[in-house]
Symmetry: C2
Subunit: 133 residues, 2 copies
DNA sequence: GCGTGATTACTCGGATACAAGATGTCCGAGTTTGAGCGG
DNA sequence: CCGCTCAAACTCGGACATCTTGTATCCGAGTAATCACGC
């Protein structure tokens, strides 16, 4: 039970994109250099974010990735869900009871964490956060 | 990022043990049959719980496992930490900044979940829970 | 009846096998921009 | 000056390769209770 590196890459990339000038596409090469990770692997991660509708890609020269929605709206939870999936962290119950009390506790615990991550926006940790004052 | 099956087994076993008569040792065979899992694998999981000081084992005939502490005291978090480890779910930061804002957010989120799991005791989901009224 | 040894029913730990998922690479295909060139 | 072509700079997607981790099994060793047997 650990967050994957992919999630780490995705979060850093998203914060990076949030800090960029609006509507400006950033190439995957540039992002990969910034964080010293493999461009090809990073592009796979970004593809997931595109499919989740968080960012969009532009093909061709001067292409790259940019935010699809307002930068203030994007939460940590969205990014994490896009990479890790939205399924529950705790799967299956051993007793055939469909109202497993253990499962309910784990769901609730997970909900506590997700609630926090849903309220926390990317811009809260970006250098643009001062603009909110 | 998922809780392992081992955690699932451990939690079910612990709730099962909490429901047993005090100071009575239960064989791993019996527990494994109850949940239809492999006895040998289950014994490895229980070894971790023993090392964590949550339960204790008795060798020989009529041996088995029993709680080491008061049943009311044992929290979900203890069991999970014994199996999954106590390390943070989110590791490493890409920018060499040691005060990585993203990491701080993730730590806090994790803390939200752990707080809930720490307060939640095994007995809260056991059939003995009515005794608390 | 009583000690002693054998048997039985357990746990413990290491070694190993297997499967799945995370991580990372390679390459061909499609797409857009922009430069170069000819009319 | 205009339009065409071509090259360059990108992303996209699938197919792999590799590594780690979770899951599971097997087996020998140790340990404690109980049973059997002989005195």
């Amino acid at each position: 039970m650990k967050f994957s590196k992919a999630t780490n890459y995705a979060l850093h990339t998203m914060v990076y994109l949030v800090q960029q000038e609006a509507n400006k596409s950033i190439g995957v090469q540039q992002i990969a250099e910034t964080f010293s990770v493999s461009p090809t692997y990073l592009s796979k991660i970004l593809t997931k974010l595109v499919k989740a509708g968080i960012i969009e890609s532009a093909s061709g020269a001067n292409g790259g990735y940019r935010l699809r929605r307002k930068r203030e709206e994007i939460s940590f939870l969205e990014v994490i869900h896009a990479i890790e999936g939205v399924n529950s962290l705790f799967t299956g119950c051993l007793n055939n009871n469909d109202q497993c009390a253990i499962q309910r506790v784990m769901f609730e615990a997970e909900g506590q964490m997700e609630h926090y991550l849903k309220e926390k926006k990317l811009i809260d940790v970006s250098v643009h956060s001062e603009m909110k004052i």
